[in-house]
Symmetry: C2
Subunit: 251 residues, 2 copies
DNA sequence: GCGGGGCGCATTGTATACAATCCAGGCGTC
DNA sequence: GACGCCTGGATTGTATACAATGCGCCCCGC
């Protein structure tokens, strides 16, 4: 019936999950705050059943944690958690790159990745309005890498990790747009992307893995950069879930 | 009240999850079979609410999959999925070993791992009655490795993977006990364990990572071994969820 | 005989009532 | 004055009733 494509299944549960996740990432609740079901029932205009399911689901995603005596609270992350999540993504994407190299059956499979490289090259030097498009292309490149690994298990592991908002490939592209940092980073990222494609094409698994790992370090560096400016920091998805040991800028 | 320790929280949901998981791994349902809520309600003597929660949870664990039109069915795995899961565990445990090496603060932290090595050495040559104890020690070693990585994110990723029954460290120790295979494997595993501890102690991150990866290959080899004998194969946790392309033994 | 449409059943999604549990505050006693 | 018990409220866990939706079967028409 509703095949319009906009909302494939407008179930209450789905709606509550999406809304609640958004609220959490936007910072509507404080880190560590306990969430009472009835409160959410009122705010989300749904019954307890879908709210309950949504809470359970978000707990598995990692943004909530279940309390031993029942109920849930907003999870609090440390900066170190973000760093680790990024590094682990690097490890998993490294494995994806290696798998892709080992399992490549014909060169044409790399077509889409090459297209991503060419398209992102066209966006240089990086401007503010190019940024949205750049993030799209970047996401597409990574998705394609995961696909070429040809491993449902690996895809699952990666997806399980990037449910954490700040762990996704495009989560930390927000660098200071008033400097030439964006252009520099895009040049580096493009070089990595090209190297990964080249390594896969030549079936150089180890090189592909090393490059993909190093590639994730860009996000890590961006994190450091972003930590110097509260304005920038707050643009990270899920920034409100991060407990800062010291105020930003005091580093 | 119920602080006896046997069952910390005898909630219906918990009970249903445990029972249903066990039923699935034991093979009470065929791979690909659709599970109707009401059937489970009758078989598990619980209401639909906890059954529903349990289904949702097992779907996230990976042994069930949600159908687009609602409901769930038993997931079917291929041998390649098991291989991949083991390899990914190797990658993640490799990262754990590297983290442990990089983050070691004092030598004493390795005490428990060393004890595991010594204890498993005592069990050589491997006999049938030693096997249970060996699996325990092996599990303890791996749990300790995860702990020493000091990364909640990494622990989460590993735990998310080994919810798949056949991906756990101790899942494929079942080799033919009538040969000297068990002893040989235990000797190899012990050597790996010692090497990992040594590498961590010396803060040799790369070596620790490589060894932990190679260590997981033992499980992979066991898988090949187990694939020659249906009797053995069926002892793998979740064996009934695996779709075999050809009958076992015909390789 | 075959295809399409409609009706009925089975199954899932949602809401709500009820039960159990936990927590906090206050009162009584030692 | 402090400790402990008890009671009341709030909150979560469970059961079940009701609504909606999809699915298959059967009948009718061509």
């Amino acid at each position: 019936m509703d095949q319009s494509g906009a909302s494939p299944h407008t179930s209450q549960t789905e709606r509550v999950i999406l809304t609640l996740r958004e609220m959490l990432l936007r910072g509507d609740f404080a880190a560590g705050e306990r969430l009472a079901e009835l409160t959410l029932v009122r705010r989300l205009t749904a019954s307890r059943t879908p709210v309950r399911l949504a809470l359970d689901r978000l707990a598995r995603e990692g943004v909530l944690e279940a309390l031993p005596s029942g109920g849930f609270r907003v999870r609090a992350f440390a900066i170190a958690d973000i760093r680790d999540a990024i590094e682990i993504r690097g490890v998993l994407e490294g494995t994806a790159a290696r798998f892709a190299a080992e399992r490549l059956s014909e060169p044409d499979e790399l077509l889409r990745m090459r297209l991503c490289c060419r398209d992102s090259e066209q966006l240089l030097p990086m401007t503010l309005e190019n940024f949205v498009r750049y993030v799209e292309i970047n996401d597409a490149f990574h998705a394609e890498l995961w696909r070429l690994a040809k491993s449902a298990m690996l895809t699952r592991a990666i997806e399980g990790l990037i449910t954490l908002p700040f762990a996704a490939p495009g989560a930390l592209v927000f660098v200071n747009p008033e400097t030439d940092e964006p252009t520099q980073l895009a040049i580096l990222a493009l070089e990595h992307h090209r190297g990964i494609v080249d390594a896969i094409a030549n079936r150089e698994g180890t090189r592909a893995e090393a490059l993909a790992r190093e590639h994730a370090r860009i996000a890590r560096r961006n994190l450091n950069s972003v930590l110097t400016d509260r304005e920038l920091f707050n643009r990270i998805p899920g920034a409100s879930l991060v407990r800062l040991p010291v105020p930003i800028g005091a580093l």
